[in-house]
């Protein structure tokens, strides 16, 4: 007998992760898809977002367990009085994650945004790895390699743990929907048009009177904030974060694959690509024999990218052309 309910349960858990990845892909779309910023250090903002949210919301460190870290915000219980029926702490944690990423991105961007794309790529990759190593080695900060656990569930008391994924999927999709609308509105505005101009040709954007460095910095910060929200959503889903989570493969390059496959410069494509790539990554583990080997599965994602690039170079949903309004 096929366990239909089990399959649905699995599917919901899968969709939660795919939806979280879609948030990262939206952030990368702001960086690369619209502005041409070659950020291959997504993992850095992923880590800062996840750790910020986790540190703010986990219980204070237990000295009996010889935990290394010193700060656990324990926001859910501290905010108990204020809750008034809505769990405010989650919103605060997401905003804090976004803010932390925004501040770090501003500092990084201020120093590096004038670099040409490939130099920016090397720099962001290096900074992301530095951020990961700081969390690994500074035990007082976030418990080092032992990681942070007991990260609270949002609205965990409302449903039986067995069905929690259904609730969290709704939360993730709401956040994703909100970000989709926010990014789309920004991109379809003159602000987004300047970003595209910078992507196409920085000199022309300058010659059209745009302060290119300022716009690039804004785009870098906005994209990083979105990635921070993704990191926070991830932390409250897995409920454990450690430096291993933020390796470049699953925290940066998979997200690039998602954007390339779905369609760089198209927000719908970014979301679609996340679900497709995550679907292949998750689906292929059920293949028989050696085919379910993780390296083979990764290879399949590689083949998918090559295939998409060959037949639809702009991704499955390429960038949409903006037509003029019909005026006489």
């Amino acid at each position: 007998m096929i366990d239909l309910l089990g399959i649905v349960d699995y599917g919901v858990g899968w969709a939660v992760v795919a939806g979280i990845y879609a948030v990262f892909t939206l952030g990368l779309n702001v960086h690369w898809g619209f502005t041409g910023l070659f950020n291959i250090g997504i993992a850095g903002f992923f880590a800062i977002g996840a750790y910020t949210s986790a540190l703010l919301t986990t219980p204070s460190p237990d000295t009996a367990l010889f935990e290394d870290f010193v700060f656990g915000g324990d926001l859910p219980s501290r905010l108990g009085v204020l809750n008034l029926g809505i769990d405010l702490w989650f919103v605060i944690a997401l905003l804090a994650a976004a803010t932390a990423c925004g501040i770090i991105a501003f500092a990084i961007g201020f120093l590096t945004i004038r670099l040409k794309e490939d130099y920016l790529a090397i720099t962001t990759l290096g900074i992301a790895e530095t951020i990961r190593l700081v969390f690994l080695n500074e035990g007082w900060l976030a418990n080092g390699s032992r990681g942070l656990y007991n990260i609270p569930k949002y609205l965990g008391g409302l449903v039986h743990p067995e069905h929690y994924n259904y609730l969290y999927l709704i939360v993730v999709l709401l956040v994703l929907g909100f970000l989709y609308i926010a990014v789309s509105r920004a991109i379809n505005s003159p602000w987004g048009r300047v970003l595209k101009a910078i992507r196409e040709d920085e000199m022309t954007a300058q010659a059209s009177g745009k302060n290119v460095a300022l716009f690039k910095l804004q785009a870098f910060v906005v994209g990083a904030c979105i990635m921070g929200v993704g990191g926070a959503l991830y932390a409250h889903n897995i409920r454990f974060v450690s430096p291993i989570t933020f390796d470049p493969l699953m925290a940066t390059f998979v997200i690039w694959a998602m954007l390339m496959v779905g369609g760089s410069g198209n927000n719908k494509g970014a979301i679609l690509g996340s679900f497709i790539v995550w679907g292949i990554w998750a689906g292929t583990q059920f293949l028989p024999g050696f085919l379910s080997d993780p390296n083979i599965r990764l290879l399949m994602i590689g083949v998918l990218i090559v295939g998409v690039m060959l037949f639809k170079p702009g991704g499955i949903l390429g960038e949409e052309r903006r037509f003029s309004n019909r005026v006489t």
């Binding site: 003159p190 300047v194 022309t204 059209s208 410069g265």
Partner: protein, 262 residues
Amino acid sequence: MADGHPILEVRDVVKDFDGLRAVSGCSFQVKEGTITGLIGPNGAGKTTLFNLITGFLRCSSGQILFDGKRIDGLPPHQVFRRGVVRTFQIPRELKRMTVLENLMVVPSDQIGENLLKAWLLPWAVSRQEKDTQEKALDILKYTNLFALRDEYAGNLSTGQKRLLEFSRALMSEPWLVLLDEPAAGVNPSLMNELADHIVRAVNDLGVTFLVIEHDMNLVMRLCDPIIVMSDGVTIAEGSPESIQQDPKVLEAYLGYGRNERT
């Protein structure tokens, strides 16, 4: 031609690139309402001078004044705001944006360029967008690119790209337009069209032009006065007739003892 006051003044400008002196003490004026030609052999420093005027490069020494105020040392976007726009020797269109978008991006101080306002004031933004689009479409009609308004700029022919650069310059409501070889790679009929557009822009819109061009037919027909540069300095200046007879100009173009024409 016109005896307007000098809108652009270049005073003893020098530009060194690690020991190579591209511009060495160049001085001239551009009077308002003229189409001033800037000619000279390859490597004379003309494009470098354009880059210096528009803020893409910084002068090693010397001054550049626009409308009586110094603009040397300003970044490109601030030079643009003073009313100076340029086109590029090789057209630099925004390839994956439509012709219309290429123009609509130009106006400064659009409400929606502020991210917070783009989010919070969508109605005000879209009202301004309507005006911007109308203005862009008007210019595209003026330069005969209207039919191509929804085409990706990357798909245009070289000549159409030149027209697009020109249209983008007009979109900024400029005082002074610097055209870097507007006729290069353009067929003769389009070249005539472009020349007409330039003359009309001077007459209808009061724009002043400084034009680098190698096509002598076009320069002699269109420009007055003409400034000749060679080896980083101006060597002659005057009407087309006087330039054609100036021995220094002939020497710069032809060199000693050579018979072939360039």
